[in-house]
Subunit: 115 residues, 4 copies
């Protein structure tokens, strides 16, 4: 894009974007179609909350917000909680990996740009 | 607000907003906690799709978009489909009423501002 | 709604909702049409970032998320920054008041439900 | 992802996603920092409306919604309008291309899955 985003931030935007897509898609297809533990209220909430905060976090970075690091920090926390919930439910390996990668990237962003 | 929105549009924004809140809240609490037919994939998808398009529709009107009527038209269609799904599931009266009111208001907006 | 939200949380949802609507509407009408200081990059970013995090914060509470307080905390911080930016720009009184009310309500929520 | 999305839909999700990111980023950096015609109310509204409907359209497809084609149709219309606005403003080549690609992909999706 014409106003270059530095490579660390671009990589965090991509991680948030992947995590948003994976959590939303898995919740709305795999989890709903599997039923049982996959539709436990706390698990479904975390999946959809994680999708939403990843979207918000990416949008803050894309808009060059001076408050991105604070949103990245809470995004990392939600991703960590979602990864744990996926481990307990089982059969959610792709989601676990995507959440962990996003949590790592967001923690890094939050620590780099401390305000 | 300082740039006045006419009363018909304000009433449509309010209807979209109520419908967004009701569908999201009912899906994430009542439906997930009830289980059974309430978490059928097609029903949960419609509830959450409806919440999202209502939010988008309200945001278009709030931003004074020249394309609001087109978004209102598809919003009305999603609300109608969600109301029907709620009837089939049962025990979703509040959501049915809110979706129907929003569908009516959005149909009216779409017909008033034809581009 | 059928799954009652306690009155403190409902009041915070309402504050976030009002702040989302006011910031989005004022940015997209009053600020864009006034030009000058009203479209300074940092001011417009804060207005639109504030609208977005308020929407996310309301959505977390509506979905009964266990991580709402963390999102409320960052929402309060963004609202405070937006109120300050509005003071510097001038002619943004409604937005200042709405942002401050939302910041207060979100700070309270964040302190009440500490995880 | 584990529940495979067919390649045509995946390509439309990717186009919406690129268009969301480009419009949001360009509006919040290039347009705001350039000023002048770049911050004309109608142009900024179209840029941000386009970003939002692309996000919604991608989310409908990711959630396997039966109403995706209707949202894709309105998304195509908003992308076309945004591309035209970018042409009139000038110096918005990347955004023009991304909007046109997204409009094409969304028109195709809308025509393929007619309900």
């Amino acid at each position: 894009m014409s106003h270059a985003i530095n490579s660390e931030m671009q990589s965090c935007i991509n991680a948030c974007n992947r995590c948003h897509q994976t959590c939303l898609h898995e919740a709305m297809t795999h989890c709903l179609e599997s039923g049982g533990k996959h539709v436990a209220p706390d698990h479904m909430r975390l999946m959809l909350n994680c999708a939403e905060i990843c979207q918000t976090s990416a949008n803050f970075m894309l808009s060059n917000s001076s408050l991105s690091s604070q949103v990245c920090r809470v995004c990392a926390e939600v991703c960590d909680a979602c990864a744990k919930s996926c481990e307990q439910v089982g059969d959610m390996d792709e989601c676990i990996n995507t959440c962990r990668e996003c949590a790592d990237s967001c923690h890094q962003m939050a620590d780099t740009y401390i305000h």
